[in-house]
Every structure is written in structure tokens, then in C-alpha cells.
Chain length 208, copies 2
DNA sequence: GGCTGGTTCAAACGATCGTTTGAGCATACG
DNA sequence: CGTATGCTCAAACGATCGTTTGAACCAGCC
């Protein structure tokens, strides 16, 4: 309906910004290039000129944010991994906090919705793309979880990590009913969210 | 690609069956009425004749399964709610097992994918429809959780239930990496899944 | 038989989609 | 200056979408 013209940055950046918003709001198929280019204030043909196709644009939207998220998670993990006094809570914080931080920068919270949508769509090419850019991070965290939870069998550990992932995806994408109250600052709410996620995951991972 | 013609049941039922499969595979927008009617072996115009529109068909697909799921959950809850010796595990079982049972009947497992997709789509009309057909069930379970977890504040309880919901949705919709091994029977796998979900949720809900 | 109400059918409708085209414009370089 | 290069633009392309149409069919009933 409304057509807010974004007039800052290069054409390419304006397209990426508008794409992130519209993909989160209406999905990859639901957001048309005409809506997208109108919101970005650029010509329709600009998408195919700068990105080659709509599908390539989708991948670019992912890569830009996912690279940043992966880098921060691995950086946080590197500081604690393998140390003798590292706790499970530390590893969970290294996994969760970068995602929450990203959610509150720029249009980052919208990106988590985009990410959750990609999980829901069972599009194979997109899942393969996610696996390529995501797999090695999950593997490193899983290895660290395994070190700190030696009493769990491999299958038991996978199950629990899988369920933790579900809870995190659900919470961080804003699906749930929990919304920030108006009398709570964003920073306070983010910290509360982190505390809930970490303590919940801690209990789910380490119960006997 | 393949066009398996389903030739059993009435035209209406064949459409509903094919819709459940295709909506789960390609999403509500991704599955076209032409693919759908071809798979069902009926004429293209049959959808609008029997259901009025594609959107009405989507609602009908939901209602059929959701009514069954709600009925079983409430039935299971009614047997234990309010009793003095009821445990948290009993309530969780009443919530989780009907969904798992449904997943292994007919095309039920596909329906859980459809349900998860509906969560991902932020379509307001569909969310409102889900809230109407789902809200009272969640309210009854929440009341029972509150009774068995009196030490938790209301906000704390909502948070934990929200995260449990995320884990369940994730697991039951088949997003995760956990797949049934070929040497495990379906019944055994279902029981293992139930055990994992219940024990994980138990730990997440009741940790100090 | 004739008629009726419910159902199926092929065909077409208008709208919207992603993509392509070719002219137009601006800036940089010889 | 001329010309090459990178980018933007309006316009059109073919394809596919959900929906509508009107004829055809087919029971059951008078």
C-alpha cells in the first residue's frame, strides 16, 4: 500500500534494505520485485541488472547478515572453547547473544524472521545454501557441547540441540506471544530475553 | 513434475488430500490450483465450485485437522486436569502425544508442516483464524501449568511455555535434523520422540 | 419421455509475475 | 571534442496465476 521511498545509499544497498523488510513481511514469493523496487525507490530492472535474478538477490540478503552472525558467534566461541573452566552457560551465551544483538541493529530483527521463513520453506536450494554457510558453525558449537556434556550419547545430544534450536528460532523470530512491554527499554528486554533463552536451554540440555 | 492421480473418495475429499500434501511441500502461494487439481485428478474449476476460493480451501484444510487435534488434546487434558495427584509430565503428555499421534495417521505429518508454515507466514487473517481455533486450548493448558508451577510468576510461565511451543513446533514439523533411522520402526521412533519432547519440556518448564 | 438440480468440463478472462530490451543519460578518459 | 562505460529508465515479453463462464453430462423424479 504505502510506498516509502528510501533515498539513502547506493541503488544496490537500497534494494538489499527494502528486500530484507519485504521478504520478512510477505515471504520470498509474496514480495514482488515491483513492490520491492518501488519501496527502494529504484527502477524495476535494477534488480536484474545488479543481482542477475530474484533468486540471487535472496541469496545476497542471506549472505550479508549470515556472514556477520557467523563471525560474531565464532569469535565469541573462540574465546572460551576448550578451556578447562568453561561452562555450558558460556557456550550458550556465545551462541545466543550474537543473534540477539543482531536482532536489534538496523533491520536485523527482520532478518531473523527471514531466516525462520527459510526454515519453513522446504526449498532445497535455499536449504543447501544455508547448510553451506551455517554448517561449520553448528559443528563447532556441537563439539563444544559434547565436551561439556560427556554423559550424553551422541543421539541424545543431537536431540537436545535440535530442540534448543527450535526454541531459539521460535523466540528470536518473534513468532511467540512474548512482546516487549512499553515500559521496558529495549536493552532491558533484550537482556531479559537472553536470560530466559539461556536458562531454558541450559535446563533442556543438561537435565539428567 | 509427477502427476499422481488420486481416484478415491469424493471430489471434495480428493482436493483436500492433495491440498494438504502440496501446501506442505510448496507453501500456500507456491502450490497452484492447477498443480493441486492435477494431483487430485479433478477439474481446475472444482476448487472454486466446492470451496468458493483458494483461501477458503486453505481454511478448510486447517479446520479439518485442527478440530481433530484440539478434541484429542482437550479429551486427554480433561482426564487429568484439576486432580490432586496430576504431574507436570501428565499435562505435557496430554499436549504432546495427540500431536504425535496425528502426525502418523493419513497425511497427518504433512499437516504439522502446514501448521508450521502458517506460523512462519505472518498473514493476519490466517493467524486470527488459528487464534480462534487454538486459543481456548492453549488457555486451558496454561491454566493447568500454572496450577502445577505455582512458584513461577505469570510472565515467567508465559516465557517458558512460549519456548516449549517453539521446540515442539520445530520438532514435530520435521524441520530439525533428527530423522527416523531405517532400522527403527515408526512406532518406536514415535515413542522415542515423545519421550525426548516430554523430558526436554519438563526440564525447561520446571527448572528453578 | 421431459425436466431439474447438482456436478464436471474445456476454454477463456484479466491481473500479476520475473525477465529482457533498447534507448537515454551521465561521467571519465583519450 | 569524441567515445567508451556504467547505470537508469519506460516499455514490452511470455508465462502463470486465481477466477469465471457456459455448455455438457447425469443422476432422480414427475
Amino acid at each position: 500500500m504505502t510506498l516509502p521511498v528510501n533515498s539513502s545509499g547506493s541503488t544496490k544497498d537500497r534494494i538489499l534494505g527494502a528486500a530484507e523488510v519485504l521478504f520478512a513481511q510477505r515471504g520470498f514469493d509474496g514480495a514482488s520485485l515491483r513492490q520491492l523496487t518501488a519501496a527502494a525507490g529504484v527502477n524495476l530492472a535494477a534488480v536484474n541488472y545488479h543481482f542477475g535474478s530474484k533468486e540471487k538477490l535472496v541469496e545476497e540478503v542471506f549472505r550479508r547478515r549470515l556472514d556477520a552472525l557467523n563471525a560474531r558467534r565464532l569469535e565469541a566461541l573462540a574465546k572460551i572453547a576448550g578451556l578447562p573452566n568453561t561452562t555450558l552457560e558460556d557456550v550458550l551465551a556465545a551462541y545466543i547473544r550474537p543473534a540477539l544483538d543482531l536482532s536489534h541493529e538496523d533491520n536485523g530483527s527482520l532478518f531473523m524472521r527471514v531466516l525462520a521463513r527459510a526454515f519453513a520453506e522446504h526449498d532445497d536450494t535455499l536449504r543447501q545454501f544455508l547448510s553451506e554457510h551455517y554448517g561449520h558453525v553448528m559443528r563447532q558449537f556441537t563439539a563444544e557441547f559434547a565436551r561439556l556434556l560427556p554423559q550424553l550419547s551422541k543421539s541424545e545430544l543431537y536431540w537436545r540441540i535440535d530442540l534448543v534450536t527450535g526454541a531459539l528460532t521460535h523466540a528470536m523470530s518473534g513468532f511467540g506471544m512474548i512482546q516487549r512491554k512499553h515500559d521496558v527499554s529495549e536493552q532491558v528486554h533484550r537482556e531479559q530475553t537472553a536470560q530466559h533463552l539461556i536458562r531454558f536451554s541450559l535446563a533442556g540440555l543438561s537435565h539428567p
